[in-house]
């Protein structure tokens, strides 16, 4: 897919160009949703470079910040656009763990790829996952952890979704420093995400969006 100049500015990690182009487009009367889609296309290209080993976490972080800054003037106009999101994910760091960096990166790349993120923060109590899924209608749940000591909490959080009758309605993704395929199986998750970009790829596949 050919990127627009705005998409290229995101892809090439040029914050001033991205912000300037968004302002120009708004001044010219272009639809905010169309502008957002160009930014998202740029983030998609960043994700592809990450998967190809051309970009690293450093570039993902910077691209995410560019996306946030450039899309800020669109937010008011897009306040009702969440209905147009490709899907919804409830995201958080599980009970007993307060690390938020990995979770925040995942949230940024997911939202900049068109997935609405319901961010529960860190040290998320088990029942909060149930409440958030019920209220938001999310079909994806993303659980993060940086400590091996919270594997059992993560497992219990998944079990809590099961007991609430929601387990069949959601796909559970897990990630974080100590996670492995084996640990993901232990906690009862559906997918292990080694990187934030893995989360985007898996989420899009589950949601059936390209």
């Amino acid at each position: 897919m050919t990127l627009s100049p705005l998409g290229q500015a995101v892809d090439q990690l040029q914050p001033d160009a991205a912000v300037g182009l968004v302002h120009e487009k708004l001044a010219a009367g272009e639809a905010p949703l169309a502008i957002l889609e160009e930014l998202q296309a740029g983030m998609g290209a960043v994700g592809e470079r990450f998967e190809a080993g051309e970009y690293y976490l450093s570039e993902l972080i910077f691209a995410g910040a560019i996306f946030k800054q450039a899309s800020a003037p669109l937010q008011e106009a897009l306040a009702d656009a969440s209905a147009d999101a490709d899907g919804i994910i409830v995201l958080g760091t599980v009970k007993g763990d307060i690390h938020e960096f990995g979770k925040n990166i995942a949230g940024t790349v997911l939202s900049s790829n068109g997935i609405k993120v319901v961010d529960l923060g860190v040290d998320v109590a088990h029942e909060k996952w149930v409440e958030a899924v019920s209220e938001s209608g999310a079909t994806l749940v993303g659980m993060s952890a940086l400590l091996t000591t919270v594997f059992d909490d993560m497992r219990e959080a998944v079990a809590t979704l099961e007991r609430a009758g929601l387990r069949d309605k959601v796909t559970v993704l897990v990630g974080g420093g100590p996670m492995t395929e084996e640990a993901a199986a232990y906690v009862g998750a559906d997918h292990y995400c080694k990187t934030a970009q893995d989360g985007v790829v898996i989420a899009k596949r589950v949601l059936g969006v390209s």
Binding site: P15, S58, I61, I98, F101, T148, F151, M179, E182
Partner: protein, 378 residues
């Protein structure tokens, strides 16, 4: 320096210590000892083995030494511990952020956590250059790191006694201090998010500040190693792993400083302990640039240690790397099989058996025991 336990105190070392030290030295110089030596890092795992509250461990350096020594003796024939005592508050000196500790901000049985916030402002890069690292850091300690500095001072005072205790029981306390990368300091005090942005938005200022830090760090490191002696010195990598940074950023902000600090430790007669967390696969070949048969590369299960052996074998001793998740969730048979593979494919020459990073608090005792026993064919 974030962490120093000083020179040992006590009587001459017993024969068992000398035997174990010889085994380690053979491995460090890429030779083949009578069997693979073991070297462990454990803190909260030791608490759980002995039923000691994390809060008690954190509050008293002597409790930390007693706890780690007690757990070590329960595990059997272990050659070495990386540290003979530990005060988690001291981590604040590495990442320039205070620690939240169990028994104080956190429940008695909670793990300590870094209280990471934006404390270094963008203007501080210029201030570090203008003031010099020492004066700037002195002010910063006064504002944010009083407790970490007190913990460091206590460690300097009390830790030598525990080094002596370990030696007296025949264990080799491998590491004496850390020699910290300026990237870890600035990234911790600035936060990962903001510091990463700075690498793109104001790279020259970051670079100038790092060079200003190095001006003093070079001499501090040399003096410290001369004072303490030929122990291991951690030149660690947590946030500087190639996994996190593009080659362009890594070549500019990580490797030149890492290489120089390792060379300084080696020149002064220390053993550079490359405690490298996260994945180093992309740049593992760069380690051939470091002094030969002097360093120990200790990985955490995320770097492919088997591939590393093919590249670094004969040049550098490798240590590791039973993954934390395997020690926690795996079975004894899985641990045994993994250790056997380490012994044959990463050993028998230039290899030290160890956990990846540190033994996790909730590791199964029988799994850790299986790792310990593996070096004797257990």
């Amino acid at each position: 320096m974030a962490d120093t336990q000083g020179p040992p105190q006590g009587p001459p070392p017993p024969p068992l210590f000398l035997e174990r030290m010889g085994r380690l030295q053979t491995a460090i110089h890429c030779g083949t000892p009578d069997r693979a030596p073991l070297s462990l890092v454990m803190d909260t795992f030791a608490c759980n083995v002995l039923g000691v509250k994390y809060s008690e461990f954190c509050a008293d350096l002597d409790v930390s030494g007693q706890t780690m020594l007690g757990a070590l003796e329960k595990l059997g024939d272990v050659d070495s511990m990386q540290w003979a005592s530990y005060a988690p508050a001291i981590l604040g000196m590495l990442w320039l952020a205070p620690m939240k500790l169990p028994g104080r901000e956190l429940p008695d049985d909670a793990l300590w956590q870094l209280d990471e916030q934006v404390r270094i402002q963008a203007e501080d890069y210029d201030r570090i250059v203008e003031m010099g690292w020492g004066p700037w850091f002195g002010q910063y300690i006064g504002r944010y790191l009083g407790e970490a500095a007190a913990a460091a001072a206590e460690m300097q005072q009390k830790a030598p006694r525990w080094v002596g205790e370990f030696i007296g029981r025949g264990y080799v306390p491998f590491s004496a201090a850390t020699v910290d990368h300026p990237y870890e300091h600035l990234c911790g005090g600035r936060t990962i998010q903001e510091f990463t942005m700075d690498l793109f938005m104001r790279p020259d200022k970051v670079e100038a500040a790092m060079q200003a830090i190095m001006v003093e760090k070079r001499e501090q490191a040399r003096q410290m190693i001369r004072a303490i002696g030929p122990f291991g010195y951690w030149v660690g990598s947590w946030r500087t792993a190639p996994q996190f940074l593009s080659p362009k950023l890594w070549d500019r902000f990580v490797w030149p400083y890492m290489k120089e600090l390792v060379e300084i430790v080696a020149e002064e007669g220390g053993i550079p302990m490359l405690h490298y967390d996260a994945c180093w696969d992309r740049e593992i070949g760069r380690l051939l640039e470091l002094p030969a048969r002097t360093c120990v590369l200790a990985t955490d299960g995320q770097t492919d240690l088997f591939r590393a052996k093919k590249i670094l074998g004969g040049h550098m001793c490798l240590m590791g790397d039973v993954p934390p998740a395997m020690l926690t969730l795996g079975t004894v048979d899985e641990v045994k099989a993994y250790c056997d593979r380490l012994l044959t494919e990463v050993g028998p020459d230039g290899f030290i058996m160890a956990m990846g990073c540190a033994i996790p608090p909730n590791a199964k005792f029988e799994n850790v025991k299986a790792m310990v026993d593996s070096v004797r064919g257990g």
